[in-house]
Symmetry: C2
Subunit: 203 residues, 2 copies
Amino acid sequence: MDRRTQILRAAARRIARDGVRGLRVTDVAEEADVSPGLLYYHFTDRSGLLSATLDYINAHANDVRARRADAGLSAFAKLEQQLLSEIDDDTEVRENSAAWNELRALAVFETELREPLRRTTSAWIQEVARSVAAVQNDDGTAAASDSTRTATILTALVEGLANRWLAGELTVEEAHGLLSEATARLVHLRPNPLSPPRLKETS
Amino acid sequence: MDRRTQILRAAARRIARDGVRGLRVTDVAEEADVSPGLLYYHFTDRSGLLSATLDYINAHANDVRARRADAGLSAFAKLEQQLLSEIDDDTEVRENSAAWNELRALAVFETELREPLRRTTSAWIQEVARSVAAVQNDDGTAAASDSTRTATILTALVEGLANRWLAGELTVEEAHGLLSEATARLVHLRPNPLSPPRLKETS
């Protein structure tokens, strides 16, 4: 792990533990065991550090997904795995999720966080939209809904469920069950109960 | 407005403006223009005040819904209105939503907030579940899904979309459009694109 990554990892860990209100650049330097000067050299100021932390969390989530990707999975199973991987008791996933959650809540009050948050959220939505489009190409429902809109809904739902998981209201298993169920219904895989069964449904 | 309500209204407004980290009971007393003694008399301590604020926000949301309820609406339109009413540029709705959002984010760090948050969230979920069940009774999809699970998904989605609205990523109209679309798909009102049209769909 290079020094820059080491600092970003420490920032996510520290935010996940103590929140971001009142967080000083020197706290993160201490957590990362580097000099404050090195931190300012890489990120200029607190705002630059928080923005880079959002990018780091997003990139790390992509790495986790890439490592777990299984070429044998159906398009739907890939989409499902992509969404479920955001909620996991793995220490780093949990810390990153808590830090993301905290930075999103803070953006209501610190407007300078809004632009980096919008940028990283948009990148996440586009990743999910590609997977939604792949499912819809598979099962012929593409014309019924816009993949970017569906991805916006799914990622907002992941955030809502992750908040409840982080606050101890849902277990990982409960959050996964609800997310799988919602994903199936939102991308139109479930049969309409009054309609005849479709051949593709069981794939 | 009685004194107790006046204090809770001030607490929500203050949390919506400045966040809850570092918030002191005396700040809320000042905002409400009452003595700190009166505040301690009603709520014992900071924790009691925050817990009562969650109850107040939930009760206020129910009042808004009751005032707007229109007996002529279909069960689906009632459910939709119930969910959409949480995201609105009306000053008090926005302040309550911001305060709720902030208290939920804080519950990750302050564990004593978790129980009141779980209780108020559960009450909200049960309200929504009743409306979901009414829709499903209307269109015969009751057997296909559990109304409490669907309500849990819908309320988590409202929170996820509200966060993005509060952080300036979505307008009220965009959040409403996404929420309406998701609600229709999650409660099975939309026709499956490959299935024949159903009589009830257009009601």
